[in-house]
Symmetry: C2
Subunit: 267 residues, 2 copies
DNA sequence: CTTGTCGTGTTATCATACAACCCTGATTTA
DNA sequence: TAAATCAGGGTTGTATGATAACACGACAAG
């Protein structure tokens, strides 16, 4: 048996804890946009860590676009509440409704990507898709090679849109969806599925090659509906029902707080 | 006159430069997934900075999910090449084709959001949208209050999709688009525009209230086409032509490199 | 009222030291 | 011989002190 021990080692770094703590202060409004943070020295003493750790935490928050600092002045909470990075909380994705929502978003992007691909694909794109399909045919269903080819096919479609952001976003969303599916691990495999899935992909490629925008959209929609069924999502149309907006906050569990971190940042 | 001096202060931190440099090594494949990075000491000497700076850079990369490190062993490039966060390079967005691509992506999301909103909106959603529209009517075109109400309207639409990720992504993309427009600053304002823009929004709301999915999509499409014209994008249909995939690398300009950073990380 | 100077406080960076930990290989032990 | 133990070096994590660069207000000089 392969025992399934989750990685509880998530961020044993002090800087991670400090960053989360400050992040929480911001999220919960105790530090408002435009506010100045305490000095690094003050933070270091209140948290009971070295100034170095505080600096690493601040570097992280700065890269996330939550705070902004200037030499000689101080560090400030950034004005716009929209951070410059987009993150998806892994824990939240375990909830069925969240997963369904993300799957829905992926569907939107994939279908439109197929449409643009049908309009803008080059010969190179088509051969790339064909190669990916061949890889799927050659590999056993569900194997690593099969999954890689599957991913490659969708990547090629995204590439064919000639819109880099499309590929970036689609890749990001798909990866999160894939992770979540793997984590759940309740996939059943059968020979029929291989044939069906392959057929779906082939129809997509055919439509894209023909430049058939509507057809490509429809084929991709079919494919996603099939995929939804295969991973256990039923009736993808009525997806989200009163799902609260998932906040991007507090990805760190408190139970594992270390002795040093016990204060609040700035009261 | 208000002279227009941009903030060139973007990231004068050494740690940012180091992080970008390592990030580029990964993106360009000189550091493959699973590879071990040079030791912090080695990086510090090759970059000509202190180990502290290297640590801040690594803390940042770790928070972005690109690197994984363990005490006593070393730091490694994470296996999946898909980072756990999504970022958009601000500099790249200044290029017209990039901006066009992002605008196109926004359009996809907005149109589909309108469709879902028409299907799933509640009374509360409708009143929120109505309030936002009222705010636009009351404020002068282009003013801060007007922009806020505009943003609020679109946020309400996204909220009405009952899909939190939709709101998250849409907000993220829209914010980047808005920043870019503000940075360009070549907006011309007229009274006609206020009326036209307001009308577009009203049609969207009407369709959503009526539960008219097709109508909401069409109205939103019109609105975005109008917005594209207003910000100087012409013929949004043939957006990207042979635009290379924008890699998420090198957000730092080299001309401003400081004396210390001149090496490569790990060859 | 403007300008220049100075002192203080803050961030940015450097340098060093130590603790915790992993890995390897030799040594001891069964 | 085979396994367990232990010592050593190497690496990351953290602490500490010092210096440079910068911002800002106070204050004097013009």
């Amino acid at each position: 048996m392969t025992l399934k021990l989750d990685k509880v080692n998530r961020g044993p770094h002090l800087s991670t804890l400090v960053a989360s703590s400050i992040s929480r202060e911001i999220a919960q409004g105790r530090l408002k946009p435009g506010d100045q943070l305490p000095t690094e020295q003050a933070l270091a003493t209140t948290f009971g860590v070295s100034r170095n750790v505080v600096r690493e935490a601040i570097a992280r928050l700065r890269s996330e676009g939550r705070i902004w600092s200037q030499q000689g002045r101080g560090a400030f909470v950034v004005e716009s509440n929209n951070p410059t990075v987009l993150t998806i909380d892994y824990e939240a994705l375990q909830r069925a409704d969240s997963f369904r929502n993300l799957f829905e978003l992926r569907g939107i992007l994939e279908v439109q990507a197929a449409a643009f691909a049908a309009k803008r694909r080059t010969e190179a794109d088509l051969t790339a898709m064909g190669a990916a399909l061949a890889g799927m045919r050659a590999a056993p269903y569900g194997s690593v090679a099969w999954l890689r080819s599957d991913l490659e096919f969708h990547r090629a479609v995204a590439e064919a849109t000639r819109n880099g952001y499309m590929g970036q976003f689609l890749g990001f969303v798909s990866e999160r969806v894939r992770e979540s599916i793997l984590a759940a691990g309740n996939q059943q495999k059968s020979d029929d599925m291989a044939r069906i899935t392959l057929g779906e992909h082939e129809r997509i490629l055919t439509a894209i090659r023909a430049g058939d925008v509507e057809g490509a959209q429809a084929a991709m929609r079919d494919h996603l509906a099939g995929a939804a069924l295969r991973v256990g999502l039923h009736d993808g149309e009525t997806a989200a029902e009163a799902a609260p907006v998932p906040e991007a906050a507090s990805p760190v569990r408190h139970s594992r707080l270390r002795k040093a971190v016990r204060g609040q940042a700035a009261r």
